[in-house]
C-alpha cells in the first residue's frame, strides 16, 4: 500500500507531494527537478492530516521507490524511528529559540542511510517568534541534503518571511463521504456508524476515528451536546462547565494512555529490556533519567491534549448551534446532528437567530481564550453563562 493512501480526500496535495518526491529522485541523478524544493509548509484545518501528509512525504523521500509503503525506510519513517527523519513536536505550549538552535545544528548534518535529512516540524504555529526567526536563517541557507517540512493550521499562523521561503501545500477539510469511506475501509466500521462519525467530526479525521471506534467517545460527545439543554440557572452553568471539562479530559486520557504506554515500552526496549529478568532490571535502572524526562513530556502533552479535546467539544457545540441556526432560518441544508433534530427544534423555537449568532460568538471567544492559555474551567464557566444568557457580553 503506497504511503499516500492514508491521506483522505487530499487528491491535490497528494499529486503535488508525490510529484515532488519523484523530482527529488530525479535531482539526485542530476536531472532537472522543478517539483522539488528544500522547504515546505503544509497547512490544513485541525484533523485534516497535516502530520500524516508530512510523514508520508518524508517516507517517499527516503524510500527507493518514492513511497512504496512496505520497505523498511517507508515503515520506519512513518513510525518516526528513521534515523534521517526527525519529527519535532513542540510539546510545551511553545518551542523556544534554544530548541530551534539545536535542531538547526542537527539539520545541517549529512543523512546517514538515505539521501535526504528530513526535519518535520508539527505545529510550527507553536514556535515562538524567536524560534521562527532562528529557523528562518536555516531556511535561507539550506544544507544541500536537508528538507524542512513545517506544518501549521493556516498560512497566517507563520511569519510572512517563513511563508515566502517555503513552498506551500494546503490540505482541505475532507468531505464527510471521503471520511466515511476511509473509516469503512481502514477500520472496518459499519456504514451507519461511519456516516455518523464522519458527519459529527466535521472533517476532523482523528476525531472521526475516535467516534467510529470508541463507544465511550460517542457517549461523551452525546453528554456534551446535552449541555445546552441543561442551562437553567447559574448553578447549572457551572455544573455544565465541569461536565464538559470532564468529558474532554476523558477523551484526552483515551488518546494519551496508550500513547504513553507505548513510548515507555519503546524506551525500555531501547535500553535493552529483553527476555530475562536481569536485563529487564538493568533496563529499568539505566533508563531512569530518560524515563523521567519522557514522563515529564507526557505530562505536558496531556495538558495540551486536554486543551485540544476541549476545543473539539466546543466545535461540537458550534455544530449544535449551527444546526439551530439552520432550523431557525428554515434552510434545507443537512444537519450535523441529524439524530438530535427534536431537541434542536426545541432550542430553535425558544430563541431568535440573533441569540444563536451571539452564542456562536461566545463559543468562538471561549476557543480564543483557551488557545491563549486562559484557565480552561474559567473560560468554560464564562462560556456557559453566555450560552444561557446570550445578551451578556464578554467583559
Amino acid at each position: 500500500m503506497s504511503v499516500w493512501e492514508v491521506l483522505i480526500g487530499q487528491d491535490e496535495a497528494t499529486a503535488t507531494l508525490s510529484h515532488a518526491a519523484a523530482d527529488a529522485a530525479r535531482s539526485l541523478r542530476g536531472e532537472p527537478a522543478p517539483g522539488m524544493t528544500h522547504a515546505w509548509l503544509i497547512t490544513g484545518p485541525p484533523g485534516s492530516g497535516r502530520s500524516t501528509a508530512a510523514t508520508a512525504f518524508a517516507a517517499a523521500l527516503v524510500c527507493p521507490e518514492q513511497g512504496c509503503g512496505d520497505c523498511i525506510p517507508c515503515r520506519t519513517a512513518i513510525a518516526g524511528t528513521h534515523s534521517d527523519v526527525e519529527i519535532v513536536r513542540p510539546e510545551g505550549l511553545s518551542y523556544g529559540a534554544d530548541d530551534t538552535e539545536a535542531l538547526v545544528m542537527q539539520a545541517s548534518m549529512a543523512p546517514s542511510t538515505s539521501r535526504w535529512h528530513i526535519i518535520v516540524v508539527e505545529d510550527a504555529d507553536r514556535l515562538t517568534e524567536q524560534a521562527l526567526n532562528r529557523l528562518l536563517k536555516a531556511l535561507e541557507e539550506p544544507a544541500p541534503s536537508t528538507v524542512w517540512i513545517l506544518c501549521a493550521p493556516g498560512v497566517e499562523d507563520v511569519l510572512p518571511t517563513v511563508r515566502s521561503r517555503t513552498r506551500h501545500v494546503s490540505l482541505r477539510t475532507p468531505s464527510a463521504s471521503d471520511v466515511a469511506t476511509a473509516l469503512q475501509q481502514c477500520h472496518g466500521v459499519d456504514a451507519a456508524i461511519a456516516a455518523f462519525a464522519a458527519r459529527a467530526s466535521q472533517g476532523h479525521i482523528g476525531r472521526a476515528r475516535a467516534l467510529a471506534t470508541d463507544e465511550q467517545a460517542r457517549l461523551r460527545r452525546h453528554e456534551v451536546l446535552r449541555l445546552p439543554l441543561e442551562l437553567h440557572d447559574l448553578a447549572s452553568c457551572f455544573v455544565a462547565a465541569a461536565d464538559l471539562l470532564a468529558a474532554a479530559t476523558g477523551d484526552a486520557t483515551a488518546l494519551a494512555d496508550p500513547l504513553d504506554a507505548r513510548e515507555e515500552a519503546d524506551l525500555l526496549r531501547a535500553y535493552g529490556e529483553g527476555a530475562d529478568n536481569a536485563s529487564n532490571a538493568r533496563a529499568k535502572k539505566l533508563s531512569g533519567k530518560a524515563m523521567k524526562d519522557l514522563q515529564k513530556s507526557h505530562k505536558s502533552r496531556r495538558t495540551r491534549m486536554v486543551r485540544d479535546q476541549i476545543d473539539r467539544a466546543l466545535l461540537d457545540l458550534v455544530g449544535f448551534y449551527r444546526d439551530v441556526l439552520i432550523l431557525q432560518v428554515q434552510s434545507d441544508v443537512g444537519l450535523i446532528n441529524e439524530e438530535m433534530r427534536t431537541q434542536l427544534s426545541q432550542v430553535a423555537v425558544r430563541a431568535t437567530p440573533e441569540d444563536t449568532a451571539r452564542r456562536l460568538e461566545a463559543l468562538a471567544y471561549a476557543r480564543l481564550q483557551i488557545a491563549a492559555n486562559v484557565t480552561p474551567q474559567l473560560a468554560l464557566e464564562a462560556l456557559m453563562v453566555r450560552l444561557k444568557d446570550p445578551s451578556l457580553k464578554a467583559a
Partner: protein, 339 residues
C-alpha cells in the same frame, strides 16, 4: 545558672526558672519549654497560670502551689512578676525558700526596673534563668533563624537564612512559623534559598484567598488594601494568576450554592458543591449578598482578567506591569461593588 533562650531543650527542668526580658515570643516559648520538659518526666503534669497584676495574686499563687488531693505535680507560671503586690512578692519568696514537692515554678519578668528587688532575690536563690532580651537587628536575628532550623534538626544555607530575614525582618513569631513550615514542606538538605521562595509563593496564595474572601464578602476597600499589600510584598508575577484562581474558587462555590435546596443540611451542601463542611457557613453568609446575575457578570470579568494576566487573548492586548496592577485593582473593585 543563666542559660540563653536557645539552650538545648533541657532534660529535666530546674525547680525554679526565671524567664526575663522583653522579647515576648521567646518568653512564651521558654515557658512552654519548661512545661514540655516537665511533661517528659510526668505526662500528667498540669500547668497553672497566675497573673502577677491580678487582684489577690498572693492567694491565687498559694493555691496554685498547694498540692492537690492526689499529690499531682504542676508547673506554676507567674506571668509579670513585676506586677505583684507586697503579699504576692512574699508568697514568691516563701516558695523560693521552700518549694512544695512536685512543683516547678516559672517566674516571668519582662525586663525593666520594676520588681528589681524580687528579681535579685530570685537570682540569688539559684533559679535557672532564660534570657529573653530583644534581639539586635542583623547578626542576632540571623543566629536566631539558624537555631530555629537546628531546633527542627535541619540545616539551611546562608542564602536561605538571609532570604528569610530579608522577607520577614525582626518578627520572631513569623520567622519561627516560616522555618517550621519550610522544614515541614521541604525534604532537601540543606534547605536553600529556592525552597524559601517556594514558601513565600505559598504566602502569596494565602493572601490571594484573603483578598478573594474580601471580594466575595463585598468589602472592596479591604480587598483593594490587601491586594496593594500583596503586590508590594509578594511576587508581582504570581499575584495575578493566584488572585484569579483564588477568586474563581470562591465564585465557583457561590455559584454552585445558588442551586442547592434550602432543605439540605450543611453536610449535604458541602458534598453537593464540593467544599469542606466548615466553609459552608462562610459561603452562606457571602451568598446572601449576591444575585445570580451579578455572579454571572463576575464570571465574565474574571475570565477576561485571566486572559489579560496571561498576555491577552487577541494580539496587542498584552499589558505592562503598571497596567497589570491597575487591571487587577479594578477587577477586585468591579467585582466587589456590582451595580
Amino acid at each position: 545558672m543563666n542559660a540563653p533562650w536557645h539552650a538545648d531543650s533541657m532534660a529535666t527542668p530546674a525547680p525554679v526558672t526565671l524567664v526575663s526580658g522583653p522579647e515576648e515570643f521567646l518568653a512564651e516559648r521558654a515557658v512552654r519549654d519548661v512545661v514540655l520538659a516537665a511533661r517528659k518526666v510526668d505526662p500528667s503534669i498540669e500547668r497553672r497560670d497566675v497573673e502577677g497584676s491580678a487582684e489577690g495574686a498572693a492567694g491565687l499563687l498559694r493555691e496554685a502551689l498547694s498540692p492537690t488531693l492526689f499529690g499531682d505535680a504542676a508547673v506554676v507560671v507567674v506571668n509579670g512578676i513585676e506586677g505583684l503586690d507586697d503579699a504576692g512578692q512574699t508568697a514568691v519568696r516563701t516558695a523560693l525558700a521552700d518549694l512544695p514537692v512536685g512543683i516547678y515554678l516559672v517566674l516571668v519578668h519582662p525586663g525593666g526596673v520594676k520588681g528589681k528587688a524580687l528579681l535579685t532575690d530570685i537570682r540569688k536563690s539559684g533559679a535557672a534563668e532564660v534570657d529573653c532580651a530583644t534581639l539586635k537587628r542583623g547578626g542576632d536575628t540571623i543566629d536566631f533563624i539558624t537555631r530555629e532550623f537546628a531546633r527542627h534538626g535541619r540545616k539551611a544555607t546562608r542564602e536561605a537564612i538571609n532570604a528569610l530575614y530579608e522577607s520577614l525582618g525582626q518578627d520572631l513569631r513569623m520567622l519561627a512559623a516560616a522555618v517550621s513550615q519550610v522544614c515541614a514542606d521541604i525534604d532537601a538538605e540543606p534547605i536553600d534559598a529556592e525552597h524559601v521562595h517556594f514558601y513565600f509563593d505559598g504566602v502569596a496564595e494565602v493572601s490571594s484567598f484573603q483578598i478573594a474572601d474580601a471580594v466575595w464578602d463585598r468589602r472592596p476597600k479591604d480587598a483593594l488594601r490587601d491586594l496593594r499589600w500583596a503586590m508590594e510584598t509578594g511576587d508581582r508575577n504570581r499575584i495575578g494568576p493566584s488572585l484569579v484562581s483564588g477568586l474563581s474558587g470562591g465564585l465557583r462555590s457561590l455559584a454552585r450554592y445558588t442551586g442547592v435546596s434550602h432543605s439540605m443540611s450543611e453536610g449535604q451542601i458541602a458534598g453537593e458543591i464540593g467544599v469542606p463542611p466548615w466553609k459552608v457557613k462562610v459561603i452562606k453568609r457571602q451568598a446572601a449578598r449576591w444575585r445570580p446575575a451579578q455572579l454571572a457578570q463576575a464570571t465574565l470579568l474574571l475570565a477576561a482578567a485571566d486572559g489579560a494576566t496571561k498576555g491577552g487573548v487577541r494580539h496587542g492586548e498584552s499589558l505592562d506591569p503598571v497596567q497589570k496592577a491597575a487591571m487587577l485593582e479594578s477587577l477586585v473593585v468591579n467585582i466587589a461593588s456590582p451595580d
